[in-house]
């Protein structure tokens, strides 16, 4: 082998140092972009579901159950407003939670097992933290669909204040991030599918929806069950949502507590997820 005329790979002017530095900063966005591109084939059905379900829930629950509740409660309503207004923000939040939990359950497990895309991503210049954050960003984009649909229905039917309906979007996204990362932190530790994946829906999402003051004020529950609300991200988000939509009583310090709890939960479980991803991808 001649050592004098070593051929040099033709890299066609591609700047590899620039690639590496871009990947270090923007890797999370490339992951989100990939997933959003992959979502395109589902978008039509998602929009149908996202727009359909707020109508179903708000009209069905609000009008049907609302008539009954309002007749019972008289002029004072629930929390000082008609039942429909009371449950609207919580329903929107519950949907955000459900969507985030579902995407993170099957998307995260599948990314390691069924379609091992996380390993393919890991073979590019990006790293584990980017996969975790980018995945969640794509979930937030997905969650935004039903959130916008709910808020639109509220604005169109004059449920609460329009500005409040708009504020439900960032609150819903914060909730989705907290729930999404939390579910991801657990699911990413699961290496075998023994049916336990459905636990997220059955033992977390449904109970939290039922006991977080979604359909009735938390105070209605016996005191010994209130803790479920306090640890439930859904309750914190619903409280914020009610404050925003119809000015439910909310002390400034409680705003801080609610937002702080969600931010903390998201941050902590994001960090845990990154740790697990890093470990699993480093074979």
């Amino acid at each position: 082998m001649s050592t004098l005329e070593q051929p040099v790979a033709d890299v066609g002017g591609v700047d590899h140092a620039l690639i590496a530095s871009r990947a270090r900063g923007w890797g999370w966005w490339f992951v989100a972009e990939h997933r959003i591109r992959a979502m395109r084939s589902y978008v039509a059905s998602w929009i149908a579901i996202s727009v359909g379900s707020p109508f179903l829930f708000l009209l069905g629950l609000g009008l049907g159950l609302g008539l009954l509740v309002d007749a019972n409660q008289g002029a004072q309503g629930v929390d000082g407003v008609p039942y429909l207004v009371f449950i609207a923000p919580a329903l929107s939040m519950a949907t955000a939670m459900q969507t985030a939990a579902q995407e993170n359950t099957y998307g995260v497990f599948g990314g390691f097992k069924w379609f091992p895309m996380f390993f393919a991503m890991n073979g590019t210049p990006i790293s584990a933290a980017h996969i975790v954050v980018g995945f969640q960003v794509s979930v937030l984009v997905r969650v935004l669909l039903p959130l916008v649909a709910f808020s639109l229905v509220m604005v169109v039917f004059g449920i609460g204040s329009p500005l409040g309906a708009l504020l439900l979007l960032p609150i819903g996204l914060l909730l989705a991030a907290a729930v999404g990362f939390a579910v991801m932190a657990w699911v990413s530790t699961q290496t075998e599918d023994r049916g336990q994946l459905s636990f997220v829906e059955r033992f977390v999402v449904v109970p939290l929806t039922l006991f977080s003051g979604t359909y009735f004020p938390l105070e209605t529950l016996p005191a010994f069950l209130h803790w479920i609300g306090w640890i439930s991200p859904l309750w914190h988000a619903a409280e914020l949502g009610r404050g925003a939509l119809y000015g439910a009583e909310l002390a400034p310090v409680m705003v801080l507590v609610h937002v702080g709890y969600l931010v903390l939960l998201a941050g902590l479980t994001c960090w845990l997820s990154i740790r697990t991803f890093r470990r699993r991808l480093d074979k």
């Binding site: 051929p7 591609v14 590899h16 590496a20 990939h34 992959a38 393919a120 210049p125 991808l281 074979k283």
Partner: protein, 308 residues
């Protein structure tokens, strides 16, 4: 002598108590096609992952394109084309979108990636399939797509983990042809295989690995010269009689190996060895003289066949 593209000394990977890669040394020169030849579980994929900085080494030194994988994964992978043992394509996406998406992971602008993707489809002979979903492609097409994907960033070196395992002979020849072209363009090729013909076809130099260690190193022809004879006589007496016949053959050629289904007689002149066998009154059911291959080198070095 230019600096090696990849250089390892005492490279080791342990999983718990188990040592998958046991202190190996190698240096790969720019533009070279370098192979890791070894049986299942030899530690080939593990070594490839350590080079790609997707697996942290347990100990030893490793330098890839001037960087230490321990803290420069992105810098290393920016310059590498990786073809993993399992394709890991996005099966739900179309062929062309797989390339575009992968290119975006390197931060390459969309118009550039689109142009490059078309070129690579041409290169991989997949232009007609550009709009098909990946889950409808044949194994050979998926493999070619994975190689095309690995080239999206115009890598300086390609890591190919068993590029043709599971493909039919025709598909393998198409792939070998593509890899030859890359080599001609100056891309360093690092590949693992347990096919001796693949190693002989593609590699300038290779290491034979077994149980995490390197047992021999050199060009295919020098390894054959060093560890085997020019020719091999293969004789079959039926599985019950091979062992006994081998006793009688002993002394013919420079070495005799008994496999369950045949006896191998290593000799520089195979025809002469055949006559000698007949002179001893032995009547094999079938006999055949062939040139020595890397398979023989492996058998000599480890006492086992490459493909179990």
């Amino acid at each position: 002598m230019p600096a090696p593209v990849i250089e390892a000394t005492g490279l080791t990977k342990r999983y718990g108590d188990f040592t998958a890669v046991d202190g190996i040394d190698f240096a790969i020169q720019p533009g070279e096609a370098f192979g890791f030849l070894g049986p299942n579980g030899a530690g080939k994929s593990t070594t490839m992952r350590m080079i790609a900085a997707t697996s942290t080494r347990t100990s030893g030194d490793l330098s890839v394109l001037g960087f230490d994988p321990a803290d420069h994964g992105p810098e290393i992978r920016a310059q590498l084309g990786i073809v993993p043992q399992a394709d890991q394509l996005d099966e739900e996406l179309r062929v062309i979108d797989n390339l575009i998406i992968y290119g975006r992971y390197f931060g390459l602008p969309v118009p550039y990636v689109k142009r490059r993707a078309e070129e690579l489809l041409e290169f991989a002979q997949l232009t007609e399939k550009r709009r098909s979903r990946v889950d409808g492609l044949s194994g050979g097409m998926k493999r070619r797509l994975t190689i095309a994907r690995g080239l999206i960033n115009s890598p300086k070196a390609m890591l190919l983990d068993e590029p043709t395992t599971g493909l039919d002979p025709q598909a393998r020849h198409v792939l070998w042809d593509r890899l030859f072209r890359l080599k001609e363009e100056g891309t360093t090729l690092v590949l693992t295989t347990h096919y001796m013909d693949e190693a002989e076809q593609l590699c300038d130099r290779l290491v034979v690995v077994d149980k995490g260690t390197i047992v021999a190193e050199g060009s295919p022809s020098s390894l054959i010269r060093q560890y085997s004879t020019r020719e091999v006589l293969e004789v079959r007496f039926g599985s019950a009689h091979n062992e006994a016949a081998s006793q009688a053959i002993e002394g013919i050629g420079s070495r005799v190996e008994v496999l369950p289904d045949r006896v191998l007689v290593y000799a520089d002149d195979g025809e002469a060895a055949m006559s000698a066998v007949h002179e001893r009154g032995l009547r094999p059911i079938t006999s055949l003289v062939r040139r020595s291959s890397l398979e023989d080198v492996f058998l000599r070095l480890t006492g086992r066949s490459l493909i179990e």
